[in-house]
Symmetry: C2
Subunit: 612 residues, 2 copies
């Protein structure tokens, strides 16, 4: 099947599809990534450098690249976007210096919407000697050192800081490195150690994190990991149930979340230390600032808060406002005095990850009406109009993650991510291009849209059994999208009426949310100027298919923006900006929560939204 | 041996000696315990009630007592102090209602020098319902409940409080009990639970604690326990050494201190629950306020602070000012949100226990010059004159605790606590009255004083070998105080030249400290109007002996006050008084530390002080 190939650009997480053989530069332009290309694509300026993984599906280096790029860089996967051609789906990383100035800050993480305005000031006080006969206490020497820098008498010390200080301070005079927030000393490190920050997007399924140099704002490493809590259930509701069943399970769930963050912190430090001398290797002990965003259940579990009320109506959280803790309190293996910031959540179902997405995606900027949606098991939708932000949570279920679909799977290698039906012939494309294993969300969406367009299913999702593609399976009529011979495990990959019903339920939840939200805000969906779609599934889904099955309203495609993991980007921006944290606090108080199911028109609207 | 018998009065911890057969009332008057005795001692008013333990060495109840006291009280050990006569050393407890008004508050623990002024206010907010469609978070419901009581919007919540709150709050409306300090919510308990406080004197050897009702100020139970850290060394220096030898030992020492406090808390709760219904039993979870005093090394180990610098010149602590922590931070098994207050320490060798002693003993009151001393392995001495407080630490060593003395022992059953030599015949008395096991501090002090008075040793501590009591032992000349036949283990209890030398070193350290301190403060010791002696050894020592060997200056006996464990009393007073905590903070800043060994006249004065 000859079709467009998707190229994803990190760290923005945005992507675009191009024909095979198109230059990477074209993919970047389509994805809205402003790569510097002063020479107009001839390769002479050498500014459009990107980094691909080893074995990425790109054309071999051209003569121009061999001339412009030092051999070490070429070997390390650096390519010129104007020269390298796309031969398969792939992911490349855009270094900050390759971006046009307007995007550089965002890309390099040097600043985000809040700018570079770290909430903790770094200083290097010189401590006087602890001389006889009346030696100063370690804390008093630190206070004297801060005084010599013209800083105020610090506030009473916290125990955890004194614990660190005791081992750091020797009787002789010397410098240390300390973090100050207002007049409060937050942390202390041996003098000259690099000061690091960690931003975490704690998803129910996947946890993404990035490591930042807190003095320059430079992003040093990024990575992701499965949430170890999956052993307790795939979705948040089953984890709440697990924690209510057994006293110990809540603590175990909390520890599982803590351990994922700890492992990511260690991995990112190791990755960012690559090629450094051992004594320059970075350690999680140097992470003195951390921001964690996530849904409200993840937030509560990590913080060790009771989740019982999140599993029962009226689904009240323990706390909604922003929290500042220390790593020590949470059991995080960072610097024990690291400040860990949790932005506010709006309700039991709308967490700080949605706020971070709103901040990072630019949804709150500009004049017109904007919709911003993050699709998951629960999909959070915000409608921004005339300065007001109204938000709802739609329980779309796990169908788009491949769950509860007979041949469903996550968007991993071998997942069918695109489906087309032309002239009665079904074609498809898999993640990685190999034999098919199952359907992931975007493939399911395409399949339903194509079956409907071809008239193989009607608006209620029922099969036209007269169509030659429809056969009778064990569970009633079904359509084989991929025959056994072309799959990895030699088994037909079919969609049944039941599978289609699950997709209908999922898309209906989202459409119903959009309709009721617009009604609540008194806005016509047709007037929405920007429609922002965030998250992994949201970035890979085909907009035409999403409109065809009625999940999204029919708006011109140019109003849509597929922004990738904007929650993780928001976490990175909050990490380095005290101002943005304040904006988030105000946003948390300003957002209005719309509880869909308590509206009298919910049921009627939901049934209507089921139609394809 | 027919001699005076010591009676100790709890909870003040003061004592006095009376002749056998004297009424308890006389002992109380000598000890300065103001018992109510409206009838002048005839027994008719029945107000001088005290409580003795079962089997205490008192005369049988008189007819007057049988008439005045209900049979149940008599059976429980209640006696009239004017009727019961002392037949042996004993300890009685004075209920608050038996004391004259000026002492009642102090005795009952209802208030101390700071009065009853708890730093945390107890309130009972009613929480509104968490109703749909936009349910309030648990924290917001608490804030609403406080607002309804006319209290300010609380400060941002601490994580540990939210952890407690989550499990406490149900969706339905209801009350809880909460502690407020300023605008900050400190802790939360189920509604109606009794709110408790714990005061701890964390000594190197013994840990004393008391449990207080924080609403009435009533003391509910008191107790003591050996410090489990003794396994790591008897004195603080050997514990510092242990903690420096092995990385893990400091943590183990900290845990040992924490576990003693935890065990005491549990025991006191159980003791105070006696006779209550199971659902009214008190639990350490209800302890929401705690004060811990102790020497600086104990303070640092319990707090998990580095003690390495406390073992090396210039012996600088990590922190001197007062600290407020939570039980959760410290690993204390109280309410995790309990506020744990550590009053300030003055130096590496002068801890908060000395400050607490100064506050509770009244050393800072009045006009004249006062000396206040706490005798231990390190003895802390303060000289208060003209509003200035000058303090030193004298390393008196463990001889008075029986250590490093061939036949030495702690003041336990069988310890020789009194020695007299009359007409060449040595008599003695043991703790408990049974066969002798060894010498405790007060017995050693007496023995040296008597040997000197009789001319058996000279002013340098050398034996007169012509004296018939002196025999040649394995380690040179010695005097057998108690022959093998009268000991528990059938072994002569003798004192050698070496033993006497140890006592000389100990008493010289104290006298040298007193002399140099008076010189530093520009005060003549002869003008000292009050000489306060605190601590167990200080309370039981014979003042005449202490003066005879030159440990204390020769002042009229009425200027001396032996006040018992005043540090523990200070901890109890600090527990219930925010004002007194402020006084302690100011005292910590005001006290001047005198480092004896850095004075040029230290050595000469010490050598002079060795003379008997």
């Amino acid at each position: 099947m000859e079709e467009s190939l998707r190229v994803t650009f990190l760290p923005l997480g945005v992507s675009a599809a191009v024909e095979p053989g198109a230059p990477l530069l074209e993919a970047a332009q389509r994805a809205g990534v402003g790569l510097a290309a002063d020479c107009g694509g001839s390769g002479s300026c050498g500014r459009c450098r990107v980094r691909a993984e080893a074995g990425a599906a790109l054309s071999p280096p051209t003569l121009v690249e061999e001339q412009v790029l030092p051999p070490g860089e070429l070997a390390a996967g650096v390519r010129l976007a104007c020269q390298a051609r796309v031969l398969g789906a792939l992911t490349v990383t855009v270094p900050g210096e390759s971006a046009v100035p307007s995007q550089r800050l965002q890309l390099s993480g040097e600043a985000g919407r809040g700018g570079f305005d770290p909430p903790t000031a770094i200083c290097h006080p010189a401590l006087p000697e602890a001389s006889e006969p009346a030696p100063l206490a370690a804390w008093e020497r630190l206070a004297a050192g801060l005084g010599a820098l013209g800083l105020a008498e610090p506030e009473p010390p916290r125990l955890c800081l004194l614990r660190a200080l005791g081992g750091l301070v020797r009787p002789a005079a010397g410098r240390i490195t300390a973090g100050l927030r207002g007049d409060s000393v937050c942390w202390a490190l041996p003098h000259g150690r690099r000061v690091l920050g960690l931003a975490v997007d704690l998803g129910s399924t996947k946890v993404a994190a990035s490591l930042t140099d807190m003095q320059s704002g430079q992003i040093l490493a990024e990575g992701g990991m499965m949430n170890a809590q999956i052993a307790y259930g795939e979705d948040v509701m089953s984890r709440i149930a697990a924690s209510m069943e057994k006293e110990s399970a809540r603590a175990e769930l909390g520890r599982a979340a803590v351990s994922v963050v700890n492992r990511l912190a260690a991995e990112l430090c190791a990755a960012a230390s690559g090629g450094q001398e051992a004594d320059e290797a970075l350690s999680p002990e140097q992470i003195t600032e951390c921001v964690i965003v996530g849904n409200t259940v993840m937030h509560h579990l990590l913080l060790g808060l009771d989740v019982a009320q999140l599993g029962l109506a009226p689904f009240a959280p323990v706390v909604r406002e922003a929290l500042d803790c220390t790593a020590g309190e949470l059991g995080l293996a960072l610097n024990p005095n690291a400040g860990v910031h949790f932005p506010p959540n709006l309700s039991g179902f709308i967490g700080s990850d949605h706020l971070a997405m709103l901040l990072a995606s630019g949804a709150l900027d500009g004049e017109g009406t904007t919709v911003a949606i993050d699709i998951g098991t629960n999909s959070e939708i915000s409608l921004i109009a005339g300065g007001a932000v109204t938000t709802c949570s739609a329980s779309s279920g796990p169908a788009f993650e491949g769950a509860h679909i007979a041949c469903g799977m996550r968007a991993a290698d071998g997942a069918i991510e695109r489906v087309r039906i032309r002239a009665g012939r079904i074609t498809w494309r898999t993640v990685g291009g190999g034999p098919a294993v199952g359907f992931c969300g975007s493939g399911l969406l395409d399949a339903v849209a194509e079956l409907k367009r071809e008239g193989i299913i009607n608006r209620h999702g029922a099969f036209d059994s007269t169509c030659p593609l429809v056969r009778r399976g064990g569970n009633g009529p079904e359509v084989v999208v991929c025959p056994a011979a072309e799959t990895r495990f030699g088994k037909d990959l079919a969609l049944s009426r039941k599978d289609i019903g699950r997709i209908q339920l999922a898309k209906a939840a989202i459409r119903c949310g959009l309709e009721l939200l617009s009604r609540e805000a008194g806005v016509d969906l047709a007037t929405v100027g920007r429609f922002i779609v965030a998250g992994a599934f949201g970035t890979y889904l085909d907009l035409e298919s999403a409109q065809a099955i009625g999940m999204f309203p029919t708006l011109p495609f140019e109003r849509f923006r597929q922004v990738g993991n904007a929650a993780a980007m928001g976490a990175r921006q909050l990490l380095v900006s005290g101002r943005l944290r304040q904006t988030a606090r105000e946003l948390g108080r300003r957002m209005r929560h719309c509880e869909l199911t308590s509206r009298p028109d919910f049921q009627a609207e939901f049934i209507k939204a089921l139609w394809l």
